[in-house]
């Protein structure tokens, strides 16, 4: 069955995911604007990097070398990369527990991440946070945390601050379908809408909150209905189609930067690994085994590669090189991080308070 990646207006239904929910319903090649080839090529490289980093972390989790809980993003690389393509300096991005992809998509260093998951002082959170607490201010990542929904209101505040600054910057809030069940999500949407805060809400709907399918948690499968209720403009796209994610993001970001207030994106995707850890089927939900096989065919990376090959932007050799390069980068970063130092004992108490104060401007 074939379906378009983004909804056409006639199909716009805030309650139902329609075809997008069907694992086998996708098309190749992707609909690509040749003007976007260059961005898609670098997006492809970035998605490959994320995949390779995550596979490395998964292996190290399985060997017991990485011990902190890791929520791998394999299969869900496109939303992070697609949205990051429209994040500029001055924007502030927030994530959640499954945020390795957000970190890397924004340009975060593989070494910083691989050191962090090993608890090293050279990690992005200096070994204090592990996989679930990442930060990278120079690249616009203001924080990712594992309390579900926690960063959504924080992102709204960052949006309000951006509006006060008046530079046309925005805040981005990445969260999952599960987070839409928290009260904080609804308060935040209402607040951002009422205050016309420049916030891009990005829900990666992968159908699951740990072991429970969305059909067991919500009366409808699409979370766009919440945006509708709060009068936040929304769009939905195939979250495994980088071109579609980019198109939807571009429109939303233009509206936000034009001062129209918040926008909401629902990106439909699927995680290949269990909720946490390296295994595929851990805490299985409703017929995940069958769905997983189908969703693997809807791979965001191979679909984009096939499409770029089809329009002549990419050749086999290049693609091979992308993978080899990613592996080299990741292996080198891992080796370096493995030799790095742990934080000193005094770090436990010395990093709690700043002890400093505001200066007069």
């Amino acid at each position: 069955m074939r379906a378009s990646s983004a909804d056409t207006s006639a199909e716009r239904n805030a309650f139902s995911l329609g075809n997008l929910a069907d694992a086998g319903s996708y098309h190749e090649p992707l609909l690509i604007d040749p003007l976007d080839n260059e961005a898609l090529m670098s997006g492809l490289q970035r998605m490959i990097l994320i995949r390779v980093v995550e596979e490395k972390i998964g292996d190290m989790v399985s060997q017991g070398v990485v011990k902190c809980p890791c929520h791998l993003v394999i299969g869900q690389e496109a939303p992070a990369v697609g949205v990051a393509g429209y994040v500029r300096k001055g924007d502030r991005v927030f994530g959640a527990h499954r945020s390795h992809g957000h970190f890397l998509a924004l340009g975060g260093s593989p070494h910083g991440l691989l050191a962090e998951v090993q608890g090293k002082d050279t990690g992005v959170s200096r070994g204090m946070g592990g996989s679930m607490h990442l930060i990278d201010i120079p690249n616009g990542l203001f924080g990712t945390v594992p309390i579900v929904g926690a960063t959504i209101p924080i992102a709204v505040g960052a949006g309000i601050a951006a509006k006060m600054d008046g530079n046309g910057d925005m805040a981005v809030s990445f969260f999952g379908d599960g987070a839409t069940e928290e009260g904080a999500f609804h308060e935040s949407m209402n607040l951002a809408s009422t205050m016309k805060a420049p916030v891009l809400f990005v829900c990666e709907n992968n159908f699951f909150s740990s072991h429970l399918h969305i059909n067991l948690r919500q009366p409808d499968s699409s979370v766009c209905r919440y945006a509708e209720a709060h009068r936040v403009g929304w769009a939905r796209a195939d979250g495994n189609d980088l071109a579609a994610v980019r198109t939807a993001t571009k429109e939303a970001v233009e509206a936000i930067r034009a001062g129209e207030g918040p926008r909401f994106l629902e990106l439909v995707t699927y995680r290949w690994r269990g909720h946490v850890g390296h295994r595929e089927d851990e805490d299985v939900g409703v017929k995940r085994k069958d769905d997983l096989a189908a969703w693997k065919l809807r791979d965001p990376i191979s679909r984009l590669a096939v499409s770029l090959e089809a329009n002549g932007a990419l050749d086999r050799q290049q693609l091979k090189r992308f993978w080899t390069e990613a592996h080299t980068v990741v292996e080198e970063a891992w080796a370096e991080a493995s030799h790095d130092q742990y934080p000193p004992a005094k770090a436990l108490l010395s990093r709690v308070y700043s002890g400093t104060m505001a200066r007069k401007r």
Binding site: G127, H133, I147, G149, A179, G183, S209, A347
Partner: protein, 337 residues
């Protein structure tokens, strides 16, 4: 022929408590995240959903506040719900319903109504999980009048205090610690008890030092006391069991006998449970009776780190308690001047 005793682990004992309650009290139901998952709440609720049906064992959306408030509402209408929060940290989204609603409900309406809700939250720390997945916060909740706070340290208590919590007509916060799930013992037959009659318990006697702790810390105290005994130092060990309202009779009596107190708590130091123990004793015991200033062993006042070397030194251990106890017993001449 002597039968080999059948022992039950801490998690399985909790499950026994749930099974007993669901079997014998039709007004009981449970609601919370992970109740249909094989792993979320350890082995403490395995297959209860298939045994008692998903109407009474309810897995939920990610909505801690809504589920806790809904349980309170059902409690006001004749049910005895048990809300499950697989981690203390997640429960914090529901603090208004626990602290400002449930705990106040009876008193602010003139003592005419009851709010028999049990909130069970699991302390699940270690494993490099870090700051947002490691809190226990019993001291915070023990601060709240109207909220009974229960922390079992043995499999028998895990089962029996759960039952007592649910049968209590008052709101109860029941905290169990995953680090205790390895404990096993032979369980006596179930007896329904009034939680209002339960309190701290003396689990070992000695004349040199009083060790006081709750939950996993009580377990550490017992282990430390065994080690100290091998060194010729005999301890009273008090397992607090019910933190709020706190009955300090036993600890006061013990402090008068030993003249030395070491309060151990797996929570932070400032305004913590260990401070409350020492304050309760200090108010009631003539300082001249004390042979040394009371001491406490707690977490350092910092969020939990992930990095393994920092994490290893973060949590109190038996070794550390033994070391502090030896110092305390050696410090005979230390006085209050």
């Amino acid at each position: 022929m002597k039968q080999t005793p059948v022992t039950t682990g801490y998690g399985a004992a909790i499950r026994d408590g749930f099974e007993y309650l669901l079997q014998n009290h039709p007004s009981v139901f449970t609601i919370g995240q992970g109740l249909w998952s094989p792993w979320y709440v350890g082995n403490s609720m395995t297959d209860l959903d298939s045994q008692f049906g998903r109407e009474r064992v309810i897995d939920t959306p990610v909505s801690e506040l809504g589920c806790t408030g809904a349980a309170l509402g059902a409690a006001l209408c004749g049910y005895r719900p048990i809300v499950i929060h697989p981690r203390v940290d997640f429960m914090l989204l529901a603090v208004d319903q626990i602290v400002t609603q449930a705990a106040k409900w009876r008193s602010m309406f003139g003592g005419q109504v009851c709010a028999p809700i049990t909130v069970r939250a699991i302390i699940n720390r270690g494993g490099e999980q870090g700051a947002q997945h490691s809190q226990s916060l019993q001291s915070w909740f023990a601060h709240i009048p109207g909220l009974r706070v229960v922390m079992p340290s043995t499999p028998t208590d895990a089962r029996d205090l759960l039952i007592a919590s649910v049968l209590s007509d008052d709101p109860v916060l029941y905290l169990d610690d995953r680090w205790l799930y390895g404990l096993e013992e032979e369980l006596p037959p179930i007896e329904e008890r009034n939680l209002a009659q339960e309190g701290p318990r003396l689990t070992r006697t000695g004349q040199d030092l009083t060790l006081v702790g709750c939950s996993y810390s009580a377990h550490l105290c017992r282990e430390a006391a065994a080690r100290l005994s091998a060194n010729g130092i005999e301890c009273d060990v008090i397992d607090i069991r019910v933190l709020n309202p706190l009955d300090s009779t036993l600890m006061i009596k013990s402090a008068k006998k030993t003249g030395r107190v070491l309060a151990v708590d797996g929570d932070w130091r400032s305004c913590g449970m260990a401070a409350e123990v020492i304050a309760s004793i200090s108010e009631a015991v003539d300082p001249r009776v004390m042979r040394a200033a009371p001491r406490r062993v707690t977490l350092p006042d910092a969020p939990a780190p992930t990095s393994s070397p920092l994490e290893r030194s973060y949590y109190p251990t038996v070794d550390y308690i033994v070391q502090r106890a030896l110092a305390l017993v050696g410090a005979q001449q230390e006085t209050f001047e």
